[in-house]
Amino acid sequence: MKYVDEYRDPRKARLLSVAIRKAVTRPWTIMEVCGGQTHSIVKYGIDGLLPSELELVHGPGCPVCVTPLELIDRAHAIAARPDVVFCSFGDMLRVPGSHSDLFQLKSRGADVRVVYSPLDAVKLAEAEPAKKVVFFAIGFETTAPPNAMAVWLARQKGVTNFSVLVSQVLVPPALTAILESPDNRVQAFLGPGHVCTVMGSADYEPIARRYRVPIVIAGFEPLDLLEGILLAVRQLEAGEARVENQYSRVARSEGNPQSQNLMAEVFEVCDRKWRGVGVIPRSGLRLRAEYQQLDAERLFEVGGIEANEPPECISGQVLRGIRKPHDCPAFGSQCTPSSPLGATMVSSEGACAAYYLYGRHVNREGAGR
């Protein structure tokens, strides 16, 4: 397949793997920020191609995983109403709230639908004017522009039965929170290639300078990741700490100004709670005052629903790269993608789910599952 197979070339992968081995002289810990990167690393067995000195830890860049429990409970409260059609990206359906998940609500009669684009939810609202159509607007800077577009379009068209439940988060404040944490182990980042495609790389410069940490903006294919790791190792070994762009075929330093303008039109920056991590200042987006009539949290008065994350759950530590999925005794036994206990097991981008899906729970010497 064009533009994909080139980045999965086994010969080039071997060459990069050799170059990484040559460049490494001592142990380093590198965090890949995106869930999509984690998924590729485990799917292609990329960590198996690296020297033992290098440790990859998995970052917080899985939108489903970081959506806080109370927001999921609020979504469930809205979805359970008989007058509501609740639309969501497919990944969100299996995420356990305090009591249930959207699949189970659906089996009890709730009208829950998977959409591939938030604009499909707007279309649905136009087609079913008697229903209240709610879209669960979650994600990072990558989903923010299409979600903003849906909100903007609904207002332009005067679609009054459409609203959004917003849980948008931003990457740079999360990186700062990881680096500020006293138990931080991360020495370099593979930066979020698609987030930077939208936002550009300027926000990462002060982080690299202030914390003396290399940030290599990287793609998602095997060769992208291997090359990103090589660039990060070279910086670490040379004592450098710069923002470097491995993913230049897609991400430009200025990002995508049209998307940024649309986001700024609809959303404003706010404090946000991250599941398993806690409140990070100025790390999220909410609807601007002019768009509040499209705010599902306000319309359905669910803002008061609170939930407490059990303090012992380790998914927060997995999201910050302090622990690995198999450090948890429930991993792969009580906790599996078909009955997930924590958010990192639910989304296909979650580190626990990626480890499980690609068999990291299996005793390879035998005995099986």
Binding site: D9, G45, K106, Y116, S117, C313, G366
Partner: protein
């Protein structure tokens, strides 16, 4: 610090869509509901078809019996329709057990308001599929339910075939050293269905691979009677079929990802939708385990048949990691190919 994840662990108290995915939840439904209530020596083997001897049946032949239900949406899709799919699915469950398909029955659950022209089209298509596969549809039933209580047409079939004397294929018969062969590209049916679903508008219209495998299995078994087992990777795809084989046979399976045949359009669609083609359904493909010494002959016979032109050797059965399927990835890494956990595509067969 306690390292357990303390969130509540609930058992499903209602059926969810994932129970129909052909993956782990489907297996749980069998394990927790059906087998405890209905299990017996034949059902417990969990083959695609039951084979047994009947008193009075001469010559050492055994009878093969299967049943299947079809709820695909949309009823008509590129390359097929629910009627054709029902015949092919039933025939294939018999054929991969080494049986010659003979008789089929079909029960139709019709939704009030279904266009009769559609029903006629489906019936004609079933007739063509029966004639092609050399089976006779010999009994049927029709029920009509209120509008909204079904989705157009649901079809339930039963199929009867004969396994010739001396032939015995079983999901538990794979042995270390065997080669693993597939008859063609994977995932065409699942992606074809998905591409005509609302909201997905692909430029290329991909055809479903739905086909009767009886001709292909006949050719294969005559060229290579030593074939240990065959499966048609329907719901849950190749990954589920091979996991079932590895578990039932108590062996490991090692795949080479680069050798697995995929249609370019399927590969692209899977990239776009975040699906793994190893889990996407086929309706006219089979995977088999064959002793290494006979695998070249088997492969050659497959490639001579129109349904096996893109047949390929995709890996081997091994002694290590019993019950586990692994894959050498395209960049030289390794991964485990596990059972499908939840649902990947709803209502595709």
């Amino acid at each position: 610090m306690k390292l357990a994840c303390p969130a509540p662990l609930w058992r499903h108290d209602r059926v969810v869509l994932g129970h129909g995915s052909g993956g782990k939840l489907s297996a749980e439904l069998l394990r927790d509901v059906f087998l405890p209530a209905l299990g017996n020596e034949i059902l417990d083997r969990m083959e695609d078809q039951a084979t047994c001897t009947l008193q009075g049946l001469g010559g050492g032949a055994r009878i093969a019996l299967t049943t299947d239900a079809f709820v695909v949406r949309p009823l008509f899709f590129p390359g097929g329709d629910i009627g054709k799919l029902a015949i092919h699915g039933t025939v294939n469950d018999l054929a991969v057990g080494g049986a010659e398909p003979k008789l089929i029955t079909a029960a139709f659950i019709l939704e009030e308001g279904l266009a009769l022209a559609d029903l006629e089209r489906i019936a004609r298509s079933m007739r063509v599929a029966c004639d092609e596969a050399g089976v006779q549809l010999v009994a049927g039933d029709t029920k009509v339910v209120d509008r909204g209580k079904a989705d157009g047409v649901f079809i339930t079939t039963a199929g009867v075939g004969l396994v010739p004397a001396g032939r015995s294929l079983s999901i538990s018969a794979a042995r270390p050293g065997d080669r693993v062969l597939v008859s063609g590209t994977l995932g065409d049916h699942g992606i074809a269905i998905m591409s005509v679903r609302e909201g997905l508008e692909f430029e290329t219209v991909l055809q479903s691979d739905t086909a009767s495998l009886a001709g292909l299995t006949r050719v294969m078994l005559s060229a290579c009677p030593s074939i240990r087992c065959m499966r048609d990777p329907t719901r849950g795809g190749l990954a589920s079929a091979l996991n079932e084989m590895a578990t039932a046979s108590g062996v490991g399976i090692e795949l080479r990802e680069a050798d697995i045949p995929l249609e370019a359009a399927v590969k692209s669609a899977c990239e776009l939708l975040g699906l793994d083609p190893l889990y996407v359904a086929c309706e006219g493909r089979l995977v088999c385990a064959v002793p290494a010494r006979d695998s070249e002959r088997c492969l050659a016979a497959m490639r001579e048949h129109p349904l096996g032109r893109r047949a390929a050797d995709i890996g081997a059965v091994c002694e290590e990691h019993p019950g586990v399927v692994t894959a050498k990835t395209v960049v030289g890494g390794e991964r485990v190919v596990s059972m499908l956990a939840g649902e990947q595509l709803p209502r595709i067969c």
